[in-house]
Symmetry: C2
Subunit: 327 residues, 2 copies
């Protein structure tokens, strides 16, 4: 089966099972509306698909890992709902965010509910691996919170260096992809060592994925990415691109950037001005190389794992898909 | 040992172990400040003490239940932090609330962290009872969210009847006390039936406890309760007192209450006016009888459980302490 087909098969299974979660019986249906809403917003379902694929790669059947897979997707949605409140984001995938639609209080409370639901789902796994799965999930959940805290912290700071930024995106994005793979592997019967290697593979592709996200926000095509290009530049976000640029800029270029964010430059001027500096410093290619570097480290981790060539090629294709995508 | 002594011994153990939680090593200490702050605010530690006592009552040692006990206290603190944001509460125990001190975003995030930590702690229990404990905790956590949602919902409504109110306080307060007892019982080796009876005992004393809280807010003594008396009346909160009053009021009394909340009555006028109606309708005694009723049901549940007379008397004293307290 081609990777594309494999991905579609697993994603359909995930979507089908996610849809069942919308029909929770409760004497309090209002509380569950945001859960249904988030499920209907759709998405790539990266985390659950990685969990199922990893389970199968080590000899398990997808059904053995479906509940933890759903738990990871529900956890991801919990973090989106709360992050959107903290980031004051009005829309997600072109639709109003939960707190925009139902108010901040319902955003907080329904996020809490999703976090609890994610624990409920995560724990429906073979008793032999429950304790391990649970521990990984706990540690990951805490790291994701720490990543969000760093992200908020960075907004208030003048300077953030590359190392700090890499650590933040590892926590905010990498570890959850890593945990998805590690938990799937354990559910499928992998050794602890192989499961750990899959975790590290996931962390690295997660970091590459996040830098690609930054890259697309500036160098992507509007129709494909599905949002306005240059948003990060307008907001002055400390992305990998901006951090590299500030690191490499000469005196003149530094001043140019500084002025674009200190006086009343228009959004257009900001985008044009910053793009000129990015161009002079070859930020486009430097960041592509950075993405590729993490992709290569990821593949090395994958190589150390014993699995069939078929599954190894799926994971390679998965990693490629994450860094080559133009959407 | 007297009940008072027993309570103090267990509470000291809980406080000691809670203090250890303040020293979590992290490269992100800021995120853990609200956790330490909440622990230092103190409190009666009802939930963890109930867990330990219940564990001992069925033959376990307190150490067998200390982690779930701490998990329940941490969960309680998670819910306080998020509820305080939703209720827009500036102070708790005379100190600024977490969101007041660190901002709403840190309130949301540190609450999330506490919820995750509570799961981490809950799961440190004998593997033989882990699955049961985990299931009870999940169901309880969801019910607490449902209770908070109902509470917020009631604020927007004109009328709330007694049955709805009892259901709300059962979810918001009762079930967590019930779960504390049930989880402690299971950790101590109780049968499922006895553990369930302890849950029901806890739910009923939780409801009685909450009505007593309402009662003290209106009929308590300022120095003992530690906050201004009549706050609920000023805010027009739908407490058990107000619900009973509206239910029993004649046309004149209904109009009197209505006017106190519709025109520009001062806080003093509201308190005096509502107290006059409460007095005419004997709300003070009617609510005392309601508290006593739930206390009696609780004792019936307790009677069905087999444990030593010593422990049975501890639980009776505990229930009495919760409903007789004047603080």
């Amino acid at each position: 089966m081609s990777f594309q087909n494999k991905y579609e098969v697993l994603k359909s299974y995930v979507d089908e099972e996610l849809n069942k979660l919308k029909h929770i019986h409760s004497d309090n249906p209002k509380l569950y509306e945001p859960l249904s809403y988030m499920i209907e917003l759709g998405g790539k379902r990266l985390r659950p698909v990685l969990t199922l694929l990893s389970c199968e790669a080590f000899g398990g059947r997808a059904e053995h890992a479906i509940h933890p897979a759903l738990g990871l997707e529900v956890f991801h949605n919990f973090s989106l709902i709360h992050d959107d409140i903290m980031d004051n984001a009005p829309t997600r995938r072109g639709k109003p965010t939960v707190h925009e639609k139902w108010g901040v209080n319902m955003g907080i409370l329904s996020g809490d509910l999703l976090l609890i639901k994610s624990y409920e789902l995560i724990s429906v796994v073979h008793p032999a691996v429950l304790a391990k799965v649970f521990k990984i999930f706990n540690q990951t959940a805490i790291m994701v919170c720490e990543g969000q805290q760093k992200d908020m912290d960075f907004e208030k700071r003048e300077l953030v260096d590359e190392e700090e930024y890499l650590r933040m995106i590892l926590l905010k994005t990498g570890v959850l992809l890593g945990a998805a793979l590690q938990i799937g592997a354990l559910a499928g019967g992998a050794s602890d060592a192989d499961a750990k290697s899959m975790y590290e593979f996931g962390c690295e592709i997660g970091v590459a994925f996040q830098i690609k996200d930054d890259w697309l926000d500036t160098f992507g095509e509007e129709e494909k990415v599905g949002k306005r290009i240059g948003g990060d530049i307008v907001e002055g976000k400390k992305t990998m691109l901006m951090i590299k640029a500030k690191e490499l800029a000469n005196e003149l270029q530094s001043q140019k950037i500084y002025k674009l964010y200190s006086n009343g430059a228009t959004e257009e001027q900001r985008i044009t001005g910053v793009l000129e500096v990015y161009d002079e410093l070859k930020i486009r290619d430097i960041c592509k190389a950075e993405i590729y570097k993490h992709y290569q480290v990821a593949l090395l981790k994958l190589d150390s794992v014993s699995m069939t060539p078929e599954f190894k090629s799926y994971f390679r294709s998965f990693a490629e898909y994450l860094i080559e995508r133009d959407f």
